[in-house]
Symmetry: C2
Subunit: 335 residues, 2 copies
DNA sequence: ACGCAGGGTTACAACGATGTAATAGTCGTC
DNA sequence: GACGACTATTACATCGTTGTAACCCTGCGT
């Protein structure tokens, strides 16, 4: 049987509350009493029951992280930092997978408090502002990534400007026929690809080039789909000198497609990605991509969440994480 | 304020216990009563407080998953399935990262019950049997991956035979100088690489070839390290016609190293991996690797855990997940 | 010496859900 | 019509922890 404050109290000859005081260390306890209690705690291997504590003071010490797909490198890297930072803040982390299902996202928002969590970090794909409005009492929540809403705290990279920057970079290398892989379209339409498409178009327009819809390849944001979009573009003889893939994972699919057709990267075409996942340093060739500090991303998100947990009346805030272009071997100057 | 059983009970004109009965659905409740209660639940948006439930019946409905490094593709894919299966079983999932620190692994075992979990799935790197013996009262736990112990439930691929099979496969393609990338050695020594090294050596010996220590490249199991080991081997002029990397992530590093030296895969050398992570289908070239059913892995693990949670006196069981060789373009017959 | 201040400790209640045992209610049967 | 045999529902206590408020004690001031 597991030891409780009662057992420890009896052993140390004090009251349960004194044990609690020692364990929590908020109230001053006479050194000799503290010592006796600590000895008893050690002897009985006492560990506080967090269910009871959670019941008593309404905080569970856990937050939930919800991502659309756990099986991707992007999510893995984000998780790594989120768990690290959360633990530094004394939070345990509960994991949820929304699987791109809007109803699951809504469910998390409305029933968020069921699963013993003090707050929620949600990376939505489909979520629209209406879903947030719908829930009349939200748990403390920070959404991450591109979502068009101003009702709750949010952290993201400024995708419009990042996509604009990358496109401008490719243009500066001399590329003129830049395909946007994963652009908004019938196959996939979310805030993320709307914004990246927007940034791409802005840069093209700023360079005085015409917008060419045939260069905007629409599809799911996965390696399979990236490969597929590129193969299809090649099959229909698209005139293109660079592929700007809206995620690294699509870029890996693109590289695979190009390699299978014997097209050299960066000899024949350049390829660029977005996210700077670890794999992009080990692809053939290594990938030029949009990078950002993922540790800072987690830091910012969880500090917003901490603030909101302690004061739920704060006005919603938005934090943009700075981004940068990292140039690797998959892009080269074109003449 | 959040609704409780009391509020629902008042609203529906019944007692709190009846609400509980309806919500849990174990006792029979008269249809009209049930209807009234369900209506009240919906109107008040009642959601049970799991802290209270956990306190009352000793179960929290959550399990913990602990992996050494969350930022890898292998972990991401495993997580994906574990979370899916856990949710099907009605468990929430709490995430821990051990960071290859033995003390963190021990801590999870000894203090596992602190964090509101009914059980623990632990993927140890350094954990040895002694650490498990040390803890005199273990939480329900299943270890996954290669660990040399028989004290608690365990699920893993049979690494010895999988490594033997892959090595035999490479031999059958005509390779005679097969490097083992990530082999046991001073740089990294864990049950995993001991076992894979053992399988590799068995196959070499079974083919009547001499064991050549210079072919066993020791190092961390990461892409960086994989690249590094291969580059170093090339630099010292190692005579080699295939690289068997003990994980796909190292294999991706190896491919990157070979590409940077202009060595063709599979033209000049073959490369094989282990784990069949998603990326390995999109590398250049796609990777021959050891595959296994990760969904089945999660299924088996969590059903062992469920069994142990409900009966902690069961004898420890071991389940091996079947593996297979999947042949892709990174390997080719040698003459 | 007596009273008062203040710190250290305590008894008690409450957080919300649910198992237990007792109660109210229903139906069938003789 | 009354009694038994269930069956649906209830009152109560409890899980372990901690906030509240009351308590006791030591030490100081007058």
């Amino acid at each position: 049987m597991r030891a409780t404050v009662r057992d420890v109290a009896t052993r140390a000859g004090v009251s349960p509350k004194t044990v609690s005081n020692v364990v929590n260390g908020v109230v001053f306890v006479r050194p000799e009493t503290r010592e006796r209690v600590e000895a008893a705690v050690k002897e009985l291997q006492y560990v506080p029951n967090l269910s009871a504590r959670g019941l008593r003071n309404g905080r569970t010490g856990a937050i939930a992280l919800a991502f659309p797909d756990l099986g991707t490198m992007y999510t893995a890297e984000m998780l790594h930092w989120f768990v690290e930072v959360a633990h530094e803040l004394g939070w345990a982390v509960q994991l949820e997978e929304t699987g791109r299902r809007p109803e699951r996202e809504r469910e998390l928002l409305s029933r968020g408090r069921e699963h013993l969590v003090d707050g929620l970090v949600l990376n939505p794909v489909t979520l629209e502002a209406s879903a947030i409005v719908g829930a009349d009492s939200l748990p403390p929540v920070v959404v991450i990534g591109e979502v068009e809403q101003t009702l709750v705290d949010q952290v993201s990279v400024d995708s419009i400007s990042a996509a604009r920057d990358m496109t401008a970079y490719l243009l500066s290398l001399g590329h003129r026929r830049i395909a946007a892989v994963g652009a908004v379209g019938p196959a996939f339409n979310s805030a993320s690809n709307r914004q990246r498409t927007e940034g791409y178009r802005q840069a093209i327009a700023a360079a005085g080039l015409p917008t060419d819809p045939s260069l905007e390849l629409s599809g799911e944001w996965s390696p399979e789909s990236g490969r597929h979009m590129v193969l299809e573009a090649l099959d229909r003889g698209l005139d293109v000198d660079a592929f700007f893939c809206f995620t690294d994972s699509m870029a890996l699919g693109a590289l695979s497609a190009l390699a299978s057709r014997g097209i050299s990267v960066p000899g024949d075409v350049s390829v660029a990605g977005f996210d700077d996942i670890a794999d992009s340093r080990f692809s053939t060739p290594p990938l030029t991509t949009v990078t950002f500090d993922k540790r800072a991303f987690a830091d910012q998100t969880l500090s917003l969440l901490a603030a909101r947990v302690s004061d739920r009346t704060l006005a919603p805030r938005y934090v943009a994480i700075p981004h940068d272009i990292v140039s690797r071997a998959s892009t080269r100057t074109r003449h």
